[in-house]
């Protein structure tokens, strides 16, 4: 299970078992639900804005360790960002997940790098990010 130790590194499992910002925000400025039709996993992302800035962000739903850990990391990443910055972060992340951009070295997100080797799991990692992206577009 060596490959898996790499894939399911401590950081991913930490975010999975101790997710940051898990929960719901009633009447949030942004609320977007997204289903992964391949597996039935679902996520809802919520955010409030202070002016143009993300002041509060949460996620809820059910999914595998990759999707839950990635959602948890996303909330940390997008907190305090402007709408434009958040959009750029999401695009950057999605590019990384298809190998078009490099992963940052000293960042929790780097833990998701191993997922690229498993094409069927990339959608798990991008689910919450895509939900937030769609929420921003609405």
């Amino acid at each position: 299970m060596n490959m898996l130790r790499e894939l399911y590194g401590q950081i991913i499992m930490d975010h999975y078992h101790r997710p940051r910002n898990r929960g719901e925000i009633p009447d949030a400025d942004l609320e977007e639900h997204l289903l992964n039709p391949l597996c039935g996993d679902e996520v809802t992302v919520y955010a409030n804005f202070d002016g143009d800035t993300v002041s509060e962000v949460k996620f809820s739903g059910r999914g595998c360790s990759i999707s839950q850990a990635s959602a948890s990391m996303m909330t940390e990443r997008l907190m305090g960002k402007s709408r434009e910055e958040a959009e750029a972060e999401i695009q950057h992340f999605k590019n990384m997940m298809v190998g078009e951009e490099d992963f940052p070295e000293h960042d929790d997100l780097a833990a998701l790098k191993g997922v690229i080797q498993y094409p069927s799991r990339i959608k798990c990692a991008t689910l919450s990010w895509t939900a937030f992206q769609q929420g921003l577009e609405d």
């Binding site: 898996l4 399911y8 499992m13 999975y16 595998c64």
Partner: protein
């Protein structure tokens, strides 16, 4: 004497390795592996007989036609169909049911009519009827399942009334390991003047099937789940019913006479086989049916029943596990969940050991909701699987639980 170890030698893929381990293929409800006999039938067809069928006046066309029609005869006999005119080749179960939903449904259904299905349908026997209902104004009704996954037949009797035009049901569940009493449903349907459709995708590969004894009007199944190639499946129906139905797809072969403004239809079953069919695949399915016949479907069913029961018992011994479906009378499918290990993570871990299982909603999202989950893990066995493979699965599940448990602490 049924010997899985000997049968396995006919399946070249079963001797390959995955991630350094021996392949343990437990995703047979998704698709089965193919024996050498089927692979050779495809090769032989392409190397020696390939031509387009039915209209060519040359040797190869005659040989190809004979091979294709020979396959039809084999499959008809395999399903207990009294004649070949009611046996239509399709792309698979999904296309067969869509054919019925269009060619029969659009013609026969009216506003206020009712279609009765079950809560446990595969999307392939649900979505085509949703579309037919939208197009015609018919309504969908659903027979619920009981807590153990079996159909609530009392509720079925209440639901099936004079407004019903069609009852549709999966013969064997791809999740719950149940075999549904479709004969009884057919009686109920017919007593109310309705038609009975049986989705046999998970039964034809695993149980002896006789469409006449089932008493159904439509029976659909897929070749690739029963040792055959992808791209070929079957719709069986009564010729008099097929005769009344409109065509599904228009084009070559399905016509008798074509004018610029109208056409007349070919004889059965060709009326429903528009365009060039998957000829080699049909021939391959014929070889698959030969293989199954030689083993005997009673023997296949017995082998899988034992294997399914063994797997149910071994998995139950793990303690903290949910296994879906009834405790007895199971097919060779075991759907389950381990607490704290998502099915996707689980199948990834098992893949590292060379074990192929499926995780997800298994194309039964309404059933998943009924079971209170979004996804399960599923191990599905076939005629070549062994108890040793069940043991390998159980050992890997124990490891997976330890692996995830270690992080949770």
């Amino acid at each position: 004497m049924y010997e899985a170890a000997k049968i396995r030698r006919d399946f070249p893929i079963l001797s390959r390795e995955v991630n350094g381990g021996k392949l343990v293929y437990l995703d047979n409800a998704a698709t089965s592996q193919k024996p050498r006999q089927v692979i050779e039938a495809l090769t032989d067809y392409y190397e020696r007989h390939n031509a387009n069928i039915h209209r060519g006046v040359h040797r190869l066309a005659e040989e190809a036609t004979a091979a294709y029609e020979g396959a039809r005869e084999k499959v008809a006999a395999f399903l207990g169909a009294p004649e070949t005119t009611g046996l239509v080749f399709t792309r698979g179960t999904t296309e067969a049911i869509n054919l019925v939903a269009h060619a029969w449904g659009r013609k026969e259904l009216r506003e206020g009519d009712e279609i009765v299905l079950t809560e446990a349908e595969h999307h392939s026997n649900l979505v085509p009827w949703q579309l037919a209902a939208q197009a015609t104004g018919a309504k969908l009704r659903f027979i619920p399942i009981r807590e153990d996954g079996t159909l609530d037949m009392e509720e079925a009797e209440r639901l099936v009334g004079p407004k019903i035009k069609l009852v549709g049901c999966i013969h064997a569940s791809n999740v719950l390991a149940t075999v549904n009493p479709v004969e009884k449903l057919a009686e109920l349907a017919h007593a109310n003047g309705a038609r009975m459709l049986v989705d046999g995708a998970q039964s034809a590969p695993h149980l002896p099937v006789n469409v006449e004894e089932l008493g159904c009007d439509f029976f659909a199944c897929s070749g690739h789940k029963m040792l055959g190639p992808t791209g070929v499946g079957v719709l069986w129906s009564k010729p008099e019913l097929l005769e009344e139905m409109d065509p599904f797809l228009g084009g070559g072969e399905m016509i008798r006479e074509v004018h610029l403004d109208h056409s007349t239809w070919n004889d059965l079953p060709y009326k429903f086989e528009a365009g060039t069919m998957n000829i080699a695949q049909a021939v391959g399915l014929g070889a698959a049916v030969d293989y199954l016949d030689a083993l005997g479907m009673d023997n296949v069913r017995e082998h899988e029943r034992k294997l399914g029961e063994y797997a149910y018992r071994r998995l139950s011994e793990l303690g903290d596990i949910t296994i879906y479906g009834p405790a007895e009378d199971r097919t060779g499918i075991v759907s389950f969940s381990l607490p704290d290990v998502h099915p996707h993570d689980l199948s990834q871990l098992l893949d590292e050991e060379g074990i192929a299982i499926r995780s997800g909603h298994h194309c039964t999202q309404p059933l998943m909701r009924r079971l209170g989950t979004v996804a399960t893990a599923r191990a599905s066995f076939y005629l070549y699987n062994t108890e040793e493979e069940v043991d390998t699965l159980v050992e890997a599940l124990v490891k997976a639980r330890e692996f995830f448990g270690a992080f949770a602490k």
